[in-house]
Structures are given as structure tokens and as C-alpha cells.
């Protein structure tokens, strides 16, 4: 049985959201409460049940290899938080 707690800091790091200490605590409690309710699922006998892959049976929705119009670059870059010439610009990436 999974624990009723969630490592909020770890998950916030995965989700790339900076949290205050207060939020870590508050969300920890609220989500812990949710997890308690969620753990009720363990009561169900799901051993021989397949996971729902999709709600509606369908497969092979594909498209032909045919071109469609692109967006105008000015439209695309007009709302870029930061642009440089024809590029999007972001702060430096820290090499890991």
C-alpha cells in the first residue's frame, strides 16, 4: 500500500514549480488528505482487470503525408516572451 504522503518538494521539482515552504506544507496536507480517499481503490479487485487504454475503442487514426499551411513567423514570434531576430530566446541552460 502506498503511503498517504507525497514528497511534495520532489514532485514540485519534477513539475518545475517553485513552492514556498508554506505551500509545501499546505499542499502536503491537502494532497495527503486526497490520497487517503484515493487509497480506497485498493479495496477493488483489479488483478484480472485490464487498464483502460482508451475510453472509446478506436485505433489507427493517422494522416496522409500531405502538407498543411504553416503559421506566419511574425504571428508566432509576436507573442514570444523574448525573441531575438527570428528566434525565441531563453536564459542560459545550466549544463548538468
Amino acid at each position: 500500500m502506498p503511503a498517504d504522503s507525497i514528497d511534495v518538494r520532489y514532485v514540485a521539482q519534477l513539475a518545475r514549480i517553485a513552492l514556498t515552504d508554506e505551500e509545501v506544507e499546505r499542499f502536503g496536507a491537502q494532497l495527503g488528505n486526497l490520497l487517503e480517499h484515493v487509497n480506497a481503490l485498493a479495496e477493488l479487485d483489479t488483478d484480472s482487470v485490464p487498464a483502460t487504454a482508451q475510453v472509446i475503442e478506436s485505433h489507427d487514426a493517422v494522416r496522409a503525408d500531405v502538407e498543411r499551411p504553416c503559421l506566419d513567423r511574425e504571428v508566432v514570434l509576436a507573442q514570444a516572451p523574448q525573441r531575438q531576430g527570428g528566434f525565441f530566446r531563453v536564459p542560459r541552460i545550466i549544463a548538468e
Partner: protein, 496 residues
């Protein structure tokens, strides 16, 4: 000046415009006047589309003059702000998209416009469609037109309020766990969620991909059927949209329910809703019987696990869907010394608490070590719930049950997140199974401490792809009971 044209149903408006008795421009002007008059109190719209409304209305009038007969000619339309409309501000009720202008139009919206609808505004919603009261919107407050001290429901609260306050005749909403049906119930409207895959999701900003569906909020079932006919159908831009022909629902409205069996869910008869509500639902079921339906008891033994199932699957999907809001290509950016800090700060500032909670629990459910115990197990529970419905539908044609756990509540009444999640208790199971379902007004109750009667919604649910049956039956019930007409919205009030 209150123009009674705006109280008309979409069907009536379209008929009038097509027949030349009124013009789309006149309807648009009347609606915009209403918007101006009531918005300070209702707050349904985040963006009013005055110029677009006039331009679209003028084009509709041109087309009608040229001989076209448009199913939704001149019908004023509210578009939930999580749907892209080219050139309009599209915010999802979030600071992270506060100024974003969509560069394309959602397929469902385009089809409505093609059918003659006129966009009046982008409607407020809970942030990224996460919520049941519209209180999670970071950009505005929407009030219930039937009692301005109460919430309109959510997440499609703005679309519901707009239609209830005559600021539109059709509202486009999206329903993931009940976000059309519940505000429909709260605002005395028909709120209809088609079968998953019936309406294209292209251009609907995703919350939970395997659950989201666009659907209409209207004042009559006939209007919902007209909207459904216009918006639904396969879309090659959406791989999950179903490639099945759509048979007209507006052409299949019924006068009675003879020959139909309606299932009443044993597990929902708990008395949890209180005496008043219980009585109203009992009356509603009896009305169905009077219309010729045979009531049968059905069982949905796993439905009670719907909330637990939903609150793992939906957050898991949304935690991934919302990753793209990172400050790189569009939307809010909060600067940082490096990209990582930019991500962390942007998303901290841009997302509200409910969105953060769901992203966190969702990432947790997918993370290494927890994936099987949470996400996979939830998808298995989902299979069980879908099977329950399939079994139930072997002995009935429709299922009837409450649309919401209570009528519209006061602002800040459900401050604990879990108590808010309970609002969707009755609507979530149908979403998990992908079934078509709607809410239709079935009575009024004055909540404890309430100032006036508030509407109650009856939920009807049909098997997969049985929209015609569903809408047809709802129409019969509506025409025999007319509950919606019992009380007008309280638009002359000043909010507390």
C-alpha cells in the same frame, strides 16, 4: 431597455433570422446591450467580443440574404475561455495565459460559427477547467444570475452564467468530470456532454485528454440538440475524435418516453442530498414514469470509487498537458538567472493553487515507484466503472440520477479542496466511461440560509453514441414539466 429578443431560444432566433423577421445584427446589438447592462453584476465574460460579434453578425446577414438557411443563424454564442478563437484573448482563466491571443480557432467553435452563431464573448472559467464553482479563475469573478451571492458552478461557470443572464443563447462549455452538467444544474440550464470523441478537441486547451469534451449550455433541450448537430463529427485534426456519422439530434426530439426503461441507481439512493432534494428527485422519476417510462433499479457498484479514480487520472494527464506552459514560447514569463529558475518562477506565479495541487498529485501518480499503484490501478478501476454501466444498460435505456450534490452554494463555502471535489460525485462516473450525459432543470429548492429558490438539475445518461435518444428523452421531460420557467434570474439585484 430590455429587448425580449434576447430571451428567445436559439431555435427561435435562428428561425427569425432565417425568415427575415429579424437580423443577426439586431440580435447581436440587443445581446451586447444586455451584456453591458448585466456584466457588472454577473461577470460572465473575461473578454467581450464587440467587434467580432458585429463582423460575424454582418456576415451571417449577408449569407442569409444570399439564400442560405443556417441552423444557428444569428444565435449569440458564449465561448468558454479555454477554447481557441483566432485573434481573441484566450486565457483559460489563468494568469499564465493572461494576454495570450490564439492564432487559430478550435474546430468545434469554427463549426458553430460556420452554422451561423455569433461570438459574443470569451467566458470565464475555473483556471484550466479545474474546479466546480468558477472561483478558481484567476482573472474574474462570475456570479450565479439566480442569486448573485452564489457561484454559477464550474468549471464552465462563465458560459452558464452568460446563457442564464441572456448574454448568449448558447454557451460552449467543456466537461471533464462534470464541468458542463454541474453549472447547468446550478444555473437552471440544460448542460450537455456528448460521448467522448463526438466533438473535436482540437483547439480546446487540454485539461485531461481522455475525459475532456466540449458541449453546449442552453435554455432548452432543443437548443442543445441544435448545437450538438452543428459542432459534432469526426475531425482529422483530433486523433481521438470518432469517425462515426452523426445523426441529427434536433430531428429526434420525443413527445414521451413510452417504450423506454429508465434506470435508477441503487447506490445513489442514500439520502445524502437532504430531504428537499430527495423529494424533488423522486418527483422527477415519477414524472418520467408518467411520460411512459418504465423505472428499473440498476446497480453501479463501482461508481462510488469514481472520485478516487478521477482524481488520479485527470491530474496525471493534466500534469503532462500543462508542462508546455513554461515561459518559453508564449504566455507569462518570470525571468530567472537560468532556464530552470525561469520555469520554476513562471509556473509558480502563473498557476493558482488548485492547478498546482493537481499538477503535483498528477506527477506523483505517474512517478517512478507509484505509477502502478496509482495511475494503472485507477485505469483499472475505470474499466470496472465502464463495465458497470454496460451491465446496467443491458436492463435500461437511460439512467437518471442527480446532476450535482447540492444546489449552487455561496462563495467561499467550499474552501477545503476535497469538499469541492465532492460536487462532481454524480457526474464523474459518466465521464470516466465516456458516456453522453446531460443535466436538465427538475425543480427548485431554497437552500438553508438562502434568500431565494435555486434550481436543481436531473442528470440523464445514455449508452455510448446514443445522443439522439438522450436528447429526445430530455426534451420530452422538459416539455412536460417546464421547471426552468418557474423562476426568472435575479438580474436586478446588486451583489452582496
Amino acid at each position: 431597455m430590455f429587448d425580449e429578443r434576447i430571451e428567445r431560444s436559439a431555435a427561435q432566433i435562428a428561425a427569425d433570422v432565417n425568415a427575415g423577421r429579424t437580423s443577426a445584427c439586431e440580435v447581436a446589438e440587443a445581446t451586447l446591450a444586455q451584456v453591458e447592462a448585466v456584466e457588472p453584476r454577473v461577470g460572465a465574460y473575461l473578454t467581450v467580443l464587440q467587434a467580432e460579434a458585429r463582423a460575424h453578425a454582418a456576415r451571417v446577414d449577408e449569407r442569409v440574404r444570399a439564400g442560405e438557411r443556417l441552423p444557428l443563424a444569428g444565435v449569440p454564442l458564449a465561448v468558454k475561455d479555454n477554447m481557441c478563437l483566432d485573434g481573441t484573448r484566450t486565457t483559460c482563466g489563468s494568469k499564465i495565459l493572461e494576454g495570450w491571443i490564439a492564432p487559430y480557432t478550435a474546430t468545434a467553435v469554427a463549426r458553430m460559427l460556420q452554422a451561423g452563431a455569433v461570438p459574443i464573448g470569451k467566458a470565464n472559467c475555473d483556471e484550466f477547467a479545474m474546479g466546480s464553482s468558477c472561483e478558481n479563475s484567476a482573472l474574474g469573478v462570475t456570479r450565479n444570475p439566480y442569486d448573485l451571492t452564489r457561484v454559477p458552478g464550474g468549471s464552465s461557470g462563465g458560459s452558464a452564467a452568460a446563457v442564464a443572464a441572456y448574454e448568449a443563447a448558447i454557451g460552449l462549455g467543456s466537461d471533464t468530470g462534470g464541468s458542463i452538467r454541474e453549472p447547468g444544474a446550478f444555473c437552471n440550464l440544460v448542460g450537455f456532454k456528448p460521448t467522448y470523441g463526438r466533438v473535436s478537441r482540437y483547439g480546446l486547451i487540454a485539461f485531461a485528454s481522455s475525459l475532456d469534451q466540449i458541449g453546449p449550455l442552453t435554455r432548452t433541450v432543443e437548443d442543445a440538440a441544435l448545437a450538438y448537430d452543428a459542432m459534432s463529427g469526426h475531425d482529422p485534426m483530433d486523433a481521438t475524435s470518432v469517425d462515426r456519422p452523426v445523426e441529427s439530434a434536433a430531428g429526434s426530439l420525443r413527445a414521451d418516453l413510452r417504450g423506454l426503461r429508465v434506470g435508477i441507481v441503487r447506490e445513489f439512493q442514500t439520502g445524502a442530498l437532504g430531504a428537499q432534494a430527495d423529494a424533488i428527485y423522486r418527483d422527477a422519476y415519477r414524472d418520467l414514469e408518467r411520460l411512459g417510462a418504465e423505472l428499473v433499479e440498476v446497480s453501479l457498484p463501482t461508481a462510488g470509487y469514481g472520485l478516487a479514480t478521477y482524481y488520479l487520472i485527470a491530474p496525471a494527464e493534466c500534469s503532462s498537458n500543462l508542462s508546455r506552459f513554461d515561459g518559453v514560447r508564449y504566455g507569462l514569463r518570470v525571468e530567472g538567472k537560468d532556464v530552470r529558475e525561469m520555469y520554476d518562477r513562471t509556473r509558480a506565479a502563473g498557476f493558482g493553487p488548485e492547478v498546482k495541487r493537481r499538477i503535483l498529485i498528477g506527477a506523483h501518480a505517474l512517478s517512478s515507484g507509484y505509477y502502478d499503484a496509482y495511475y494503472v490501478r485507477a485505469q483499472k478501476a475505470r474499466t470496472l466503472i465502464a463495465r458497470d454501466f454496460a451491465t446496467a444498460f443491458a436492463s435500461c435505456d437511460l439512467i437518471a440520477c442527480p446532476a450535482a450534490s447540492c444546489p449552487a452554494f455561496e462563495f467561499a463555502a467550499k474552501s477545503d479542496p476535497y469538499s469541492m471535489y465532492l460536487m462532481d460525485f454524480y457526474t464523474i462516473p459518466m465521464s470516466l466511461a465516456g458516456l453522453p450525459a446531460l443535466s436538465v432543470p427538475c425543480g427548485w429548492t431554497t437552500p438553508e440560509g438562502g434568500r431565494r429558490p435555486m434550481p436543481i438539475g436531473l442528470q440523464l445518461c445514455a449508452p455510448l453514441f446514443a445522443e439522439r435518444l438522450l436528447l429526445g428523452a430530455a426534451h420530452a421531460y422538459e416539455q412536460a414539466t417546464h421547471h426552468a420557467q418557474a423562476h426568472p434570474p435575479a438580474l436586478d439585484e446588486v451583489p452582496a
